[in-house]
C-alpha cells in the first residue's frame, strides 16, 4: 500500500490513504504503515481520502496507535469524513485518538 509521507520538524505526516479501509485491506494497511513508522513516534494521519471504514479498519488504526504509544509517541488524525466519524463514535475511538479538524491543528497539537 502506498502512502504520501512528509516530515515537518520531527512530525511525520501520512496522507493519501485508500478510499476504503475494510477487512479486505486492513492487515496490509497495518503492516505497511508499521514499516514506515519505525523511529517516528510523532505521527499525523490525513483521513480526508477515507470514505469508508469498518471494524477491521478501526482495528488497524488502534494497532497503529498502540505501536506509537509503545514508542512513547502519539497519533493525531484530521479531516475525518462523516461515515468514518460515525463508526469511530460507535466503537468510541474518538475517546482514544485525538481527532482534529485541519492539518495545521494536528501538527500544532504536539
Amino acid at each position: 500500500m502506498k502512502f504520501n509521507t512528509e516530515d515537518i520538524d520531527g512530525i511525520f505526516i501520512i496522507s493519501d490513504l485508500p478510499k476504503i479501509l475494510d477487512a479486505s485491506n486492513a492487515i496490509e494497511f497495518k503492516t505497511d504503515i508499521a514499516k514506515i513508522l519505525e523511529n517516528r513516534p510523532k505521527v499525523v494521519i490525513d483521513m480526508s481520502t477515507v470514505a469508508f471504514i469498518d471494524s477491521a479498519g478501526c482495528g488497524a488504526m488502534i494497532a497503529t496507535l498502540r505501536m506509537l504509544k509503545g514508542m512513547g509517541g502519539a497519533l493525531k488524525i484530521f479531516a475525518v469524513q462523516k461515515q468514518v466519524r460515525s463508526v469511530f463514535e460507535l466503537v468510541r475511538m474518538h475517546k482514544i485518538i485525538d481527532i482534529l479538524n485541519t492539518r495545521e491543528e494536528a501538527v500544532d497539537s504536539f
Partner: protein, 553 residues
C-alpha cells in the same frame, strides 16, 4: 394491620366466662368432703367422684377444673388425666398425691397436668392453685378466641384480595389479533400473591404482554400489582399518544419509565416486583423481551420441536440504582409457543417435598406444544395438581400461553433483490455496491447517503463475519444475500452454509484501545434497527437485519 385486627375483635371476649364447678376425684371420702367444704366456703360449686371411671362420666364443658388423686382403684389418676387431656384440652387438672409419689406427680405434669399438691395439704395452698389454674384457663381461652377472630379477619382480607386479583390484576384476553392465540389461567392461593398480567394491543400487528409478581402476600401485594398495571397503561399512553410519537416506545423505555415513576413508593413500602415485558411483533416475527427477575419464559420452537428458556439480565423493579433496562430480541416462527408463568408452578411440591421445577415444566410444555394455548394452560394445571396431589398451593398459580398462529399471507415486500457471492474479502466492495444500488432504487426520500453507508457497514461486517468465522479456512463457499423492501423498511438476509454462529463465544468489545478486534457485532447491533440470527435443520445460517426507512420515522 394489627390495629385493624384488634378493632374486629368483639368486646365480649375480653372477659372470658369460665365455669366455676370443681370436680374433686379421690377414693378417700375424708379427702373428698374436706376439699368440698373448703372450696364451697370460697363460693365454688363442687362435684365429687370416687374414682377415675366415675370422674369421666361426670366430665362436661361445665367443669372448670379437676382435682385428681394420682392413685385410685378403678382407673388411676394417670389414665384419667390422659383421657381428660384428649377430650377436654381446656380443663386444667391439679394432681393430688402423697409425698413419696412426687416423682409420679412430676410425670403427670409432663402429660399436661397443671400442677400438683401433696397430702396432707394446706387448704390455702389448694385455693391459690385453683385460682391460678382458672385464671390461666381464662387466658388460654381468650387467646383461642382472638386467634379465631384473627383467622376470620385473615379470611376476610383474602376475600378482598381475591376480588382485587380477579378484577384488577388479571387482564382479559385480547379480543382479536390475527396471528396470535392466547390462553391464560390463574388459581389464587390461600394467601394471594399479587401475580398480575395484561395484554395491550399496541398496533395492528403488535401485542404487548406484561406478566408480574409482587413480593409479599395479601392486600398490600394485590394493590401494588394493580398499581403497577395502571402505571404500565398510563406510561404506554403517555409515551405514544401524548408525546405524539408515531413509532412505538421500546419495551425497555416503557419499563424504565414505570420503574422511575414507582421507585419512590416502592422504596417506602420496602417491596419490589418481578416482571416480564414481552412485545410480539407479528410483522417482523420478533419478540422484544425485557425480563426483570421473573421466572424464565419457555419458548417452544416449532421448527425443531424443542424448548429454550428466555432469560433477561435485569433486576426486579423496585431495586434501587437501576438506570436502564436491557431488552433482548428473540426471533420466532409460525407455530412457536411462549409460556409465561409464576413461581407457583415450579415451586409446587409433591408429598415428598420435592419441587415441580423448571426442568419438569419445560419437558411438559415441549411434549404438549401441539395443544392450543388455553388447553395447554389447563392441562398444565392438571399436571401440577396430579404432581402435588393437592389443589391448594401456597403460591398463586398463574400462567399465560401465547401461540404464534399466522395466516398464510402474500409477500409483503414490494421489491426484492438478490446477490450471490463467494467467501473472499475482495467481494466486500461488491456487496457494498449491491447495497448502494438497491437503496438508491428506493427513491430519493427513502435513505440519505449517510444512512446508506450505515447499511453498507452492517453488510460489510456480516459478510466479513461469515468469511472469517462461518467459513473459517475454507475456500469457494457460497454467500447469498437477499433484500426486500416495503414502504416502511428494508430487510436484508445473509445466508451461508458454514458453522453455526455461537453468541456465547463472542467477547464483549473493549473500548480502551487495548483490543484491535471484537467491534463487528457491536457495530451491527447499534446500527441496524432489528437483528436476528437463525440456523435451519439443513445447516443454513441466516443473519437478518432490518432498517427503517426515513419516511416512516
Amino acid at each position: 394491620m394489627t390495629k385493624g385486627f384488634n378493632e374486629m375483635i368483639s368486646p365480649e371476649y375480653h372477659d372470658e366466662e369460665i365455669p366455676s364447678t370443681i370436680l374433686v376425684v379421690d377414693d378417700s371420702r375424708v379427702v373428698r368432703t374436706y376439699l368440698q367444704s373448703h372450696l364451697q366456703k370460697e363460693g365454688y360449686v363442687v362435684s365429687l367422684a370416687k374414682d377415675g371411671k366415675e370422674a369421666l362420666s361426670m366430665l362436661s364443658e361445665d367443669i372448670g377444673i379437676v382435682l385428681l388423686d394420682l392413685w385410685m382403684p378403678e382407673m388411676d389418676g394417670m389414665a384419667c388425666l390422659r383421657h381428660i387431656r384428649e377430650n377436654y384440652p381446656d380443663i386444667p387438672v391439679i394432681m393430688i398425691t402423697v409425698s413419696h409419689e412426687i416423682s409420679n406427680a412430676v410425670d403427670a405434669m409432663k402429660y399436661g397436668a397443671f400442677d400438683y399438691v401433696t397430702k396432707p395439704f394446706n387448704p390455702n395452698e389448694i385455693l391459690a392453685l385453683v385460682q391460678q389454674a382458672l385464671k390461666t384457663r381464662a387466658q388460654a381461652q381468650r387467646l383461642r378466641r382472638v386467634e379465631a377472630e384473627l383467622a376470620r379477619a385473615r379470611d376476610h382480607e383474602i376475600s378482598i384480595a381475591t376480588r382485587i386479583q380477579q378484577t384488577l390484576l388479571l387482564g382479559g384476553q385480547p379480543e382479536e389479533l390475527k396471528g396470535i392465540k392466547v390462553g391464560d389461567l390463574t388459581i389464587a392461593s390461600k394467601r394471594i400473591d399479587g401475580d398480575f398480567y395484561d395484554f395491550f394491543m399496541v398496533q395492528d400487528h403488535c401485542m404487548d404482554l406484561i406478566v408480574g409478581d409482587v413480593m409479599g402476600k395479601g392486600i398490600p401485594a394485590a394493590l401494588l400489582g394493580a398499581a403497577a398495571k395502571h402505571h404500565f397503561m398510563s406510561v404506554l399512553y403517555k409515551l405514544t399518544r401524548i408525546s405524539g410519537n408515531t413509532s412505538l416506545p421500546r419495551p425497555e423505555e416503557i419499563v424504565l419509565t414505570v420503574h422511575d415513576e414507582m421507585i419512590g413508593d416502592m422504596r417506602e413500602l420496602e417491596t419490589f416486583f418481578t416482571l416480564c415485558y414481552a412485545r410480539f411483533d407479528l410483522y417482523r416475527k420478533i419478540l422484544s423481551y425485557v425480563d426483570c427477575g421473573h421466572m424464565r419464559t419457555i419458548h417452544f420452537h416449532s421448527a425443531t420441536n424443542k424448548c429454550s428458556l428466555l432469560q433477561g439480565v435485569n433486576m426486579p423493579l423496585g431495586f434501587p440504582g437501576q438506570d436502564d433496562f436491557k431488552e433482548i430480541l428473540i426471533p420466532f416462527e409460525n407455530g412457536d409457543h411462549f409460556f409465561f408463568y409464576s413461581d407457583g408452578l415450579t415451586e409446587a411440591k409433591d408429598t415428598k417435598d420435592e419441587f415441580f421445577g423448571e426442568e419438569r415444566l419445560l419437558e411438559f410444555i415441549q411434549n404438549n406444544a401441539h395443544l392450543e394455548p388455553q388447553e395447554l394452560c389447563d392441562i398444565t394445571w392438571k399436571k401440577i395438581v396430579d404432581f402435588s396431589q393437592s389443589e391448594t398451593f401456597s403460591d398463586d398459580f398463574t400462567c399465560v400461553a401465547v401461540k404464534i398462529d399466522l395466516p398464510e399471507t402474500e409477500e409483503k415486500a414490494e421489491k426484492s433483490w438478490k446477490l450471490e457471492t463467494v467467501n473472499d474479502l475482495k467481494e466486500l466492495s461488491r456487496v457494498r455496491v449491491f447495497i448502494q444500488e438497491l437503496c438508491e432504487s428506493l427513491g430519493q426520500n427513502a435513505m440519505d447517503e449517510e444512512r446508506i453507508k450505515m447499511v453498507q457497514i452492517v453488510a460489510t461486517e456480516i459478510t466479513t463475519n461469515i468469511i472469517k468465522h462461518a467459513y473459517k479456512g475454507k475456500k469457494d463457499k457460497k454467500i447469498l444475500i437477499e433484500a426486500m423492501a416495503s414502504d416502511e423498511e428494508i430487510v436484508l438476509y445473509f445466508y451461508d452454509w458454514g458453522i453455526k454462529f455461537d453468541f456465547s463465544t463472542v467477547p464483549q468489545p473493549v473500548f480502551d484501545g487495548s483490543k484491535e478486534d471484537g467491534f463487528g457485532l457491536h457495530i451491527i447491533a447499534h446500527t441496524a434497527d432489528y437483528v436476528r440470527y437463525s440456523r435451519d435443520n439443513t445447516g443454513k445460517n441466516c443473519a437478518c437485519v432490518t432498517f427503517f426507512l426515513q419516511r416512516r420515522a
